[in-house]
């Protein structure tokens, strides 16, 4: 086994190209949290412009096929790109683009050739930003229980209903959503997926601020959610992806991505900040880390976080090596969520009330600790609650005398990469 990515001379050369490009193109202050609406909007525009510039290079969605505007890059280069953007406090894309990430993966598997040509290039090049629209007021964990309808009327589907806890701030250009297309049909056999232009008449948006919002208002990328209303929205029929009433199968791909099926190899940034804080912050006349009790707590926290990191690394490798997965994505999602909630108390124990305030003088870890207190709670629910993850795990294991359920398809790139590695 080899747990570390080895960098070839070609990768190091690529890293140089990436760092030089990022140095020249990433605007100052992209990792700074905005304090006003004006600052937030200006930052958003900067990030979108950066996204388009990355798109030109094929680096916005580096794994996307080149013919559809993606980078067509292999794991060796994608890893370098992710590492170097992460160093600047950015992800890929550098802004919230849930519908792009998960919609694109699903379209690659379920879209027609025409749809791939229409939908993927704007996503991969950063021309559009997309949000996923799943949850409804009466359908959260029970996605098959959605009420929003999309009824065929000639060449269009007519949408009526609402979605909640959607997106982030400053709007999106496309919506990737699921709706009931056969109201009299059986559960799971009556829903379909669509990619919708957000400017279509009849769509209205109402903001919603979650516990993780830094402040109420359009300044926060993470805590700002929306309710989106559809009132007789007429959507062209060729926006249907995966076939009418076949939406549950498309959902299996979408949810596989959302449930961390793809994994990652990052160390938890909260851990990095926490260790640094304990090394430098004085308490009772010595650095916190020299207090035996604190040291023990730190070791306990590290052990718990390492379990999550290792299973994420396992998933990362499984996807890119084309290994067959089953419960792995949901297991990692479950452990990440439950560990982050546990972490709120662990950090509170370790740092005391300093973990609860964002005060510039007394707040621990520059406010990261206080933010973790809120995010650890909020992050329990997006992408499926912990209970839903457990249901998925049990089904994938075949518990209850059921045939073990298969993981959602993530496309063929994994198999292609495996073949390339073996060659």
């Amino acid at each position: 086994m080899e747990f570390e990515l080895k960098y070839t001379p070609a990768q190091e050369a690529f890293r140089q190209e990436v760092t030089a490009w990022l140095a020249a193109n990433v605007p100052d202050g992209v990792a700074v949290r905005p304090r006003t609406f004006e600052e937030s909007y200006a930052l958003y525009l900067k990030k979108r412009a950066l996204g388009r510039a990355l798109g030109v290079k094929g680096w916005l969605y580096p794994s996307g096929e080149k013919e559809y505007g993606g980078g067509g890059l292999g794991l060796d280069q994608i890893v370098v790109l992710e590492e170097e953007t992460a160093r600047l406090g950015l992800g890929l894309p550098p802004y919230y683009d849930s519908g792009g990430k998960m919609g694109a993966a699903s379209i690659r598997v379920w879209g027609t050739e025409d749809q791939k040509k229409r939908f993927l290039p704007p996503i991969y090049t950063g021309a559009v930003r997309s949000w996923q629209l799943l949850t409804e007021p009466t359908a959260g964990s029970d996605l098959a229980g959605i009420k929003m309808t999309a009824i065929r009327d000639g060449d269009v589907y007519v949408f009526n209903g609402q979605k909640i806890y959607i997106g982030s701030h400053h709007g999106a250009d496309r919506y990737w959503t699921i709706a009931v297309t056969d109201p009299k049909g059986k559960r799971h056999q009556n829903v379909s997926w669509f990619m919708i232009d957000s400017a279509t008449p009849g769509i209205t948006t109402q903001p919603l601020y979650m516990l993780s919002a830094q402040s109420e208002g359009e300044t926060d990328e993470f805590g700002h959610k929306n309710i989106i209303f559809f009132d007789n929205v007429r959507v062209p029929a060729d926006c249907l992806v995966g076939g009418e009433n076949n939406g549950w199968k498309v959902a299996s791909t979408h949810l596989e991505v959302e449930h961390s099926g793809q994994g990652n190899i990052r160390t938890n940034p909260v851990w990095i900040a926490l260790l640094a804080h304990c090394r430098t912050q004085m308490r009772d006349g010595r650095p916190i880390i020299e207090d035996p009790e604190a040291r023990e707590k730190l070791a306990e926290i590290y052990s718990r976080l390492e379990a999550v990191r290792l299973l994420s690394t396992r998933n990362f490798w499984m996807v890119y090596a084309g290994e067959k997965r089953s419960y792995h994505g949901s297991q990692t999602s479950y452990l990440r969520k439950t560990t982050n909630l546990w972490l709120t108390k662990a950090i509170h124990d370790l740092l005391g009330p300093e973990a609860l305030t964002s005060d510039a003088l007394y707040g621990a870890m520059g406010g990261i600790a206080e933010m973790q207190q809120r995010r650890g709670i909020v992050e329990q629910h997006p992408g499926g609650t912990t209970d839903i993850q457990r249901v998925v795990i049990a089904r994938r294991l075949g518990v209850g005398a059921r045939e073990p359920q298969q993981a959602g398809r993530l496309g063929e790139e994994g198999m292609a990469r495996k073949a390339a590695v073996e060659a």
Binding site: E2, L275, E306, L310, L311, R314, Q331, L397, A401
Partner: protein
């Protein structure tokens, strides 16, 4: 990055699996446990023929000198079968301690004898009424070169041909017939009191450049792997039971409370398994393997008890019937919990080894 096993590692794992299937059926282990038998000494010959007794012994002393992951896979499969034997104590713990000693003919002779199966060297470390503070803190005093004292919770002491005893100034190899052993009863596997009464210890093995706790890094990993194997089997048993046990007219696995226990078991197992695999890689590739071995072992010790508890919740009453076999694993989860120091102690060592 490649998290797959090599062909030779798969071969090693499969050969141990076949051994367990052929020679150590669960029914036989249940019978042995019921009869108060600790292990089958005939296995030692088979272990030696397969090279497992010398898995971690340098090739220069006749061992296989396996990489840590290959060795871990041997113990993972033995743990899956709940195979009771002195292999872990002798061929991992004692070998680790010997490799932590300065080079000497005596050391290499012992390593050679362990590898060829003629010596079963059991470490006798713990002193009565003392908490575990590392190997160095377990040393017994010698009076006029004679060893007198008691060591407790010594694993598989009755199987020993020799004991490896920590004394002031180093380690002593003592013939087993020079000591008296007494099996400790209760819910603990093959743990003994070993009494030395005025035993002449001869030349000591002197400590080498690194601490004995450091030199036990691979032993910690393979001990953790043994527990991982046990958790794998408990998972399989629990899934199978949940699918066949019918209550209220339905397999109990349909109940989410039962599913939750199985998922708790799965998560405990996978957390330990991947910590073991990464630690083995870290040792092999020189990336703070000491710190990661503490992480792997502490995680496995905590996980094994969590997994066993979850398995018992799935199985209910039949799980507590010794004839069923689950308790073989439960007892191991308890017995190994502090074999190499408590998880809390290990995590403290991890913090030091990580340079915090």
């Amino acid at each position: 990055m490649d998290l797959s096993l090599s062909d030779s590692q798969v071969l090693i794992r499969d050969s141990v699996r076949i051994f367990v299937q052929r020679h150590v059926p669960r029914a036989e282990l249940v019978r042995q446990a019921g009869a108060g038998e600790v292990w089958d000494p005939a296995w030692q010959t088979l272990f030696a023929e397969a090279g497992w007794t010398g898995a971690l012994v340098p090739a220069s002393c006749g061992g296989l000198e396996l990489d840590p992951l290959s060795a871990a896979l041997i113990f993972e499969e033995l743990g899956r079968g709940a195979v009771p034997s002195p292999l872990l104590a002798s061929s991992a713990m004692s070998v680790g301690l010997l490799l932590g000693c300065a080079e000497s003919e005596q050391r290499d002779a012992a390593l050679t004898a362990i590898a060829d199966g003629t010596m079963i060297l059991i470490p006798a470390l713990r002193q009565p009424a003392s908490s575990w503070k590392g190997v160095a803190a377990t040393g017994s005093s010698l009076v006029d070169g004679l060893l007198t004292g008691v060591k407790v919770f010594v694993p598989f002491a009755a199987a020993a041909t020799h004991f490896l005893v920590t004394v002031e100034g180093g380690l002593a190899i003592v013939p087993a017939e020079a000591a008296s052993v007494r099996l400790l009863g209760g819910f603990i596997q093959a743990a003994y009191e070993v009494t030395f009464s005025g035993v002449a210890v001869g030349a000591l093995l002197r400590p080498g450049a690194v601490s004995f706790d450091h030199s036990l890094s691979v032993a910690r990993i393979v001990a953790a792997a043994y527990q991982v194997g046990g958790m794998m089997e408990m998972l399989d048993m629990s899934v199978a039971h949940s699918n066949t046990r019918v209550q209220f007219g339905t397999p109990i696995g349909r109940f989410q409370r039962v599913q939750d226990h199985i998922i708790r078991l799965l998560n405990a197992m996978d957390a330990a398994k991947w910590a073991v695999y990464e630690a083995a890689w870290a040792i092999e590739s020189g990336r703070n393997g000491v710190g990661r071995s503490y992480l792997a072992c502490s995680t496995a010790c905590d996980s094994a008890i969590e997994a066993a508890n979850a398995a018992h919740e799935v199985h209910a009453a039949i799980g507590s019937d010794p004839r069923f076999g689950l308790t073989l694993y439960t007892r191991i989860s308890r017995s190994m919990y502090e074999l190499l120091g408590s998880p809390g102690w290990q995590r403290r060592q991890m913090a030091d080894a990580m340079g915090w």
